[in-house]
Symmetry: C2
Subunit: 690 residues, 2 copies
């Protein structure tokens, strides 16, 4: 189905790919680290020497600092080796911002481990040509420059790996310089064909190269996708006559899949589906005693019926689960499971492996706690008592579900388990199936969050939910797109079953619309927890989560009725996901630029993808303008750096609002009016450019 194009890899593309040739490397000097032409700060770069990451189809900016002494010109190449061992060579361009940084963008296709290295060399022709052009104009050194040029071009023409037409071209150019002639000198130095030939196959003088660095390309879903979270027990749950609720099952939940797929989502994420403990089971609204019929928190995993490798009997059987996974696949949805590595006191591990927990001097097993608070429905694992045993069991659990076709895991509280456990587990799982994806639920300190990403997590929740003002979002979006994107991919969930921010609690429908528009356009992965469509914005007083939290009870919702009444945000989500599928620029992480407005609540950013990478031959540019104050109407001027999409400052271009269909002629400075209660956000595509 057409929907799947969102996740299909792009072919390897680089506007600067050139014919493959060996590197020019001046032998390194004994005891000296730096090469003849310095190459510093190669990126992508991940702290602590971990491999950099990309997803299939991702356009990766490769950058390196290179310069040489004096005025002579240099060239810099990126040599890429794909997982099959094939090399390609890419000519880099100087950023020209005074940093001596060179860059080339490449869209990586094949999954697996790539290597990249940088090569810098004296560009003999460029050095000669720039000097010759100036001297021809000034009429100085004509004889010497002609002689030098003739020699250089004759040598280039003699290079064996140069195609015949090029050799002929260069030989002729050399001949034009045989006699001193200022006019010929200037003409050859600026000859477009000669310059092009020697751009693609430069004449390399002294040179050096970096060591090979590694970059892991994961399948597209590691970096692109719209996620939808639900509690399968709520989908199809029904109230009995006595007021109690009959649990939904995988069979009834599967009936919701067409609706979720119809909104354009790619991943359906289920909270834990395992048996739930009854000892110290939590009641509604996190009370300490459950009433009869309270289903308990699915995070209190383990009961007589089994543990992490079992299915809750209320939801059905393994066969039902398999049918659910298949039904999802049919709808173009991939199933993600929750990996919450903790046990209820009733978990089989407790009797079979008491050594996996902490036993206190009184012989009891320690509950999870944050003194003096105690969580008596949960025993945390103690990874230091029997690491080998625990590690092996966790790997077994994950691979058990991989056997059911599940290749995405949302990991609950990874920051409460040893970091080295995750590094080990993800590497082991990916060694068996490199397509398995782990999303870290780590709303924790920045160093911890980044470390989890560096050691292997394919995705991270990030701080998106708590970044709501214009200033916060500008900083946040710049950071995720440019500072951490070599290893961290934020999944911009707008809400979760644990998080209902004050912005959503008190911002009304406008807040829900604004956040969805930003999440869906600012990063290639975003997510929604069921109920967002219905603007479920009432919190348990004093908390940052929903009242009557679904963790502790069934939720009975009528999606269709809400949509029929015009109260659902499903149409907006549907439209946003359509826009995402239609616009490859939105399926990239690193191509975001923050622009400016004169209003402190009007956020402006663009997502641009060059024609070389869109697959259509046309560039794809979106400009998002959002009034992030959900309580006001704002009129202001936005200021755009239009050069990013190839439009000179001051030139006009046509934009179309993809939410309303309105069209305007814009330039670098534009008036906008954003009414939080009607149209809080413009999602503009650049429709025509000069």
């Amino acid at each position: 189905m057409a929907a799947r194009t969102a996740l299909e890899p792009a072919a390897l593309r680089s506007p600067a790919r050139i014919p493959l040739r060996p590197a020019a490397e001046t032998p390194p000097r004994h005891g000296v680290r730096v090469g003849r032409i310095p190459l510093f700060e190669p990126t992508p770069h991940v702290p602590q020497g971990y491999s950099a990451k990309a997803f299939a189809g991702e356009v990766v900016p490769f950058r390196v600092v290179s310069f040489r002494e004096g005025h002579d010109r240099i060239g810099v190449h990126l040599r890429l080796t794909d997982p099959a061992g094939n090399d390609t060579l890419h000519r880099m361009a100087p950023l020209g911002d005074g940093t001596d940084r060179w860059q080339v963008e490449v869209a990586l296709d094949a999954t697996g481990t790539w290597t990249y290295r940088y090569e810098a060399y004296a560009d003999e022709f460029a050095t000669w040509a720039s000097s010759a052009a100036v001297k021809a104009e000034a009429g100085v050194d004509i004889a010497v420059m002609c002689a030098l040029g003739a020699e250089l071009l004759a040598a280039a023409a003699a290079e064996k790996d140069r195609p015949a037409p090029e050799r002929t071209l260069l030989k002729a150019a050399a001949k034009r310089l045989k006699k001193p002639d200022a006019v010929q000198l200037g003409a050859v130095a600026t000859d477009a064909a000669v310059t092009a030939a020697l751009h693609d196959r430069p004449v390399q003088g002294v040179g050096s190269r970096t060591a090979a660095l590694s970059l892991t390309v994961e399948r597209a879903t590691a970096g692109v996708g719209a996620w939808y979270e639900f509690f399968p027990r709520s989908e199809g749950a029904a109230q009995r006559k006595d007021g109690t609720v009959k649990s939904g099952t995988f069979r009834t939940a599967a009936k919701r899949l067409p609706g979720v797929a119809g909104m354009g989502f790619d991943v359906i994420y289920l909270v834990p589906v395992h048996p739930i403990g009854s000892t110290n089971r939590k009641g509604r609204n996190n009370t300490l005693t459950a009433e009869p019929g309270d289903p308990g928190s699915p995070y209190a995993i383990g009961a007589a019926e089994g543990g992490h490798d079992a299915i809750h009997p209320d939801l059905g059987t393994e066969k039902d689960f398999l049918a659910f996974v298949r039904a999802a696949q049919k709808e173009g949805l991939e199933v993600a499971l929750d990996l919450a590595l903790q046990a209820s006191p009733d978990h089989p591990w407790v009797t079979e492996h008491p050594e996996w927990f902490t036993t206190l001097p009184d012989g009891t097993i320690a509950y999870a706690e944050n003194p003096p608070k105690k969580y008596q429905d949960i025993y945390p694992l103690n990874f230091d008592n029997d690491p080998d045993g625990i590690y092996a069991e966790m790997l077994r659990v994950v691979m058990h579900w991989v056997g059911f076709g599940v290749r995405i895991f949302r990991v609950d509280n990874p920051h409460t388990k040893p970091l080295q456990f995750w590094e080990w587990l993800i590497a082991e799982v990916n060694a068996q199936d490199p397509g398995v994806i782990f999303l870290a639920e780590a709303f924790t300190r920045p160093a911890v969050m980044r470390a989890l990403a560096a050691v292997g997590f394919q995705q991270s929740y990030s701080y998106f939910t708590w970044r709501n003002t214009k200033a916060e979002l500008e900083e946040f979006l710049t950071t995720i797109a440019h500072e951490t994107s070599d290893y961290m991919r934020p999944n911009l969930f707008v809400n979760t079953h644990d998080i209902l921010t004050e912005y959503l609690q008190f911002g009304g429908r406008a807040a829900y619309r604004i956040r969805a528009c930003i999440a869906a356009t600012a990063a290639p992965v975003y997510g929604v927890y069921a109920g967002y469509e219905l603007v479920e914005n009432v919190a348990r007083p004093g908390s940052e989560e929903n009242i009557d939290n679904e963790k502790y009870e069934y939720k009975l919702r009528d999606w269709d009725a809400a949509e029929e009444r015009g109260e659902s945000l499903a149409p907006l989500l549907r439209r946003l996901n359509e826009i995402r599928r239609a616009h490859p620029a939105l399926r990239q992480l690193r191509n975001l630029s923050v622009h400016w407005s004169d209003d402190d609540a009007v956020l402006v950013y663009s997502k641009h993808l060059d024609a070389a990478f869109t697959g259509t031959g046309r560039p794809d540019t979106l400009i998002i303008v959002a009034n992030v104050d959900p309580h006001s109407v704002r009129e202001t001027t936005v200021h755009l750096d239009t050069r990013i999409w190839g439009v000179e400052p001051g030139d006009e271009f046509l934009v179309e609002d993809l939410l309303t269909g309105a069209e305007w002629t814009w330039r670098d400075h534009n008036y906008v009016r954003l009414d939080a209660f009607a149209e809080p956000v413009h999602i503009l595509r650049v429709k025509e450019r000069p």
Copy 2:
């Protein structure tokens, strides 16, 4: 003499030094990079893996990111190995700013190569104590917590390397927990003596450590000192009756040394002292033809009399030079020579080693050029023609002057020679004499400037001269103190023979005073080119250098007469250097903090050194408030983060202006009035604190 204390190394001091013990290291897991307790981003850090740098007596902040899963406490140690192989252990403290960064500051004394590594471990007592204190208060888990505590303390008491009194103390504490008792539990958990003992010799659970990293400590002069530049030929030069000038000599120049030393300078830097070529010699004001009697640029090195290892006959003999070096030493001044690796057409290298230059097709040697401009008095070396020959010769030249007692070289235009040459040369020279210091004259692009520092240059000129506004200086000072200080030491020259900025040209005497005050207090190395005292601020029209530039002619100055007339800035320079000697905080690079003012021309920064590092037992704090607009009087409020020097916000403290003697009672917000024409800068010391 007392003056020399400025350069004397401090003893190794760290307020957090603890008894030496082996590290607790949980065996690393196969194939996993991260240890049981993660340790990330160790600093000091230099790009590209070069060794970090410090100077003897420098207080170095050692930092590392460390954290663990869950709520358990960790401890982090720095293990330092000095060049003699002796280890010390230092307990680090969390910065507490949400970054999971730990820090300890250590003053490094011995020169040579140090290694450092970080160790993190589960702090078993801290974990127990924090939980026990809360639970004792809440009256929960008393029995279990007493039992756990008794076990932990008994084990600590049994540790063999623990001194007897501590063992007794801990045994007694364990005994108090033998029976469940909430009062005893709370008391032991918060017992000061027990906590102190287990802070210095913690009970370590699981742990990990980093690889050993290297840090080179150079002699103090590499990082601290006041430099004075002069042209020896001008010192003692005299006009003859016919209007021509008789050159000064080393003998006459030596007469100026007491004056320079009297102003408190530490280093006397001489522009090149070698024979000057006569072919294409430049005339006054950089004209193409020299008049008879024009001495030529000392940077056009080499004549029949010799090259880089020779003395210009006008200056005297090798014996005279040696006498000059000794006279300087007597005055407490160290001589720095200029290393300008280029040749006049008359240099002996040209005939002896034509292969060290570039020969053109017409058989001539290529001049230095920036097409179409040509510098016909200079031949640049071509390092690629005979690198071995050139490298060996340059090493010979440097060691030749080292043989004369010269151990500081100011390197002219290092960015026009291969970076790998400098890495090689500095390493070779330092292998023979680690005390030799190289200052890079590289006012070039940031990446190049930083690379020169990273590969070995002990000092760099930096962009100081072009950072004149408050905003520019705030960013510049923060960068040199905190971003690049692990490897780059800026020498804040206020002017040079090549640089007379517009700020100085048009800012009058006030500009000269302001810049001297900032240079002398913001970094531990700064410099002045002779004539600054006399406010020589007239530029060659359209240029950024002095008219009648001393490079091309003799300068006849009467230092004493100017001072007698009250026109000289020598008294200010003398006072600034006195202040630098009296205040160890000014002899550090990394201890600068920028503060705030409400005026966009009033710059505020402090330099603070803890009592542990001053040698006096008292902290040393200076607050510098500068009106950087040399044309106005400014009144404003300055805002200080007084916690940096241990004063709570709002508390009063007494400050003394070291330039005027005025005293004020200050707190975190203070009124200032700075009159550019009278007192443009306050240099305040904190005289009394609450």
